[in-house]
Symmetry: C2
Subunit: 347 residues, 2 copies
Amino acid sequence: MTEYKLALVGFGGVNRALAQLIAERNENWKTELGFTLKIVGVTDLFLGSVIGREGLDAALLAKLPAVKGAMAQLAGGEADALNEAVIKDSGADIIVEATFTNPVDGEPATSFCRWALERGKHVVTTNKGPIALHGAALKALARSNNVTFEYEGSVMSGTPVIRLAKQSLAGSSIVGFEGILNGTSNFVLTRMEGGLGFAEAVSKAQELGYAEADPTADVEGHDVRLKVVILANELLGAKLKVSDVTCSGISSLDLGDIEKARQDGARWKLIGAAMRHADGSISASVEPRLLKHDHPLSGISGATNAVSFTTDLLGAVTVSGPGAGRMETAFALLSDIISIHQSVAHN
Amino acid sequence: MTEYKLALVGFGGVNRALAQLIAERNENWKTELGFTLKIVGVTDLFLGSVIGREGLDAALLAKLPAVKGAMAQLAGGEADALNEAVIKDSGADIIVEATFTNPVDGEPATSFCRWALERGKHVVTTNKGPIALHGAALKALARSNNVTFEYEGSVMSGTPVIRLAKQSLAGSSIVGFEGILNGTSNFVLTRMEGGLGFAEAVSKAQELGYAEADPTADVEGHDVRLKVVILANELLGAKLKVSDVTCSGISSLDLGDIEKARQDGARWKLIGAAMRHADGSISASVEPRLLKHDHPLSGISGATNAVSFTTDLLGAVTVSGPGAGRMETAFALLSDIISIHQSVAHN
């Protein structure tokens, strides 16, 4: 039985949910997936760190109190985040990176990924920063070290998007995509259709935990812009930088715009999109678009995310599902590990 | 470079589109997919048959006139359909079965699949009959002969459904699904929402080529029922027979029902569904269901198909796309061949 040793970097809701899955399902995975997982290290800026080369108790980790320095309560634990030691020296095969997204330079997550890949460790991450800002360099590093670098969860959490496009649609070229890639802004637009003003709808989203205290990155399209860069570079073979994607958000829309759209049989949606033109160039944007009711994305309501691929042989193929959530995003990490297992078995 | 030798069984629109793809893209597939395809035999009840062990001209085949016995025009061709010779003796590695669906006993397609699998040939098919009626036996036969049996195109043509669920959602249990799995009936319902009566909407569908001269199998749910059996057995591990699926169609709906639904903020859709219950039993049905506007399938209009999976870790994940079409279905066959290539490379 193959066993992979994991180091978890960042121990917020997502990696905690992964620990919970390991605690509950490891036995079943032997037959269902053909491998088991063992956590050999955890590090977190707030909680501290722990290394246990023989395997840490996943159930205990999943229940660790969310208080500063809590890792020090564990045998061998520390109140400090010994990131470098956990990544480099815990004996992990796979580094599971789930720290916060830094949209400016992708750090420190990018360094975490680089340290791991340079040492021949596979990396799975849910973090948009390293992929959107340094994806090409990190992928090259993974190739040259003969390891796998997977990041399904960086777009639409566990809903299969990158893997759907690259595996299930292989053989049919993707010429472009349009996506509803931010649940907060889609929730706000849906509530505005129900009559709430923009500010009230944002407050409602905050109340329900969909929006941050500062909702700017969500409603102004900055979050979507990173996802557009990731998808365009991955699926269309683009080499976009974040600044190549034009970006406007939904804060300019008022109830009059929403009502006028309704009267015209249409809906406003914040759309992240990219397409390859006949001359081979690729353009990409984030902007509110008026969608008619027969558009595949017009029926996507609330916090749900969706992306519609334009393909040469199938026309439009659309996938929708959760775009966030701790367990949903932990599943993305699991699906990345399944993918590593397949490529390891293959080679 | 791996080359697979194909025998095409049934040469209607779908296998003809596959021949066209081979003629146009074989060179590109060397780098894109890692293999090329060579057609070594074709057989069709109406057109006749031809065997060419050194490879037939795919472009010439794609343009063959659609007249009775036309294969006799080709070097080595015959006006008769020598099915057995083409399947057993053409030297094919993969049998590409795309004959008509027989919903009663799945013949002759089931025998075609069996002959091929018994002789250690991989089989890809778009045909619902063999899978819905004899899927378990054929899969067992494939396993015992160490070959691959793929049928993505039997549900929703080339839109990835089986592969999405089994590969991209691996690790998250599927506990049920609901699908809009018949484009004709969905088109009819969409037109009825536009004010056409049932009979007029069916005529319109026939005019546009969506419906057969006899639309019974589409509008009464019989086509969907086969697809529900296929998906339930494949994705939920059920062992359903066709008669286990309750079935009622859309012919009982009138404009009054459609209008009342609209007033209630809902829409009628013909839904094929199955779910696993807490006691492990599985129930399955085909019936018109009233969907509220926030249901993931309520926005699926016209001839588009969609299926929404209920999963334990992700909640609802929905994929929509074409449910028919010659090139769309030919892509399903290509995606099945890609899958064979991966499992051959793997073993």
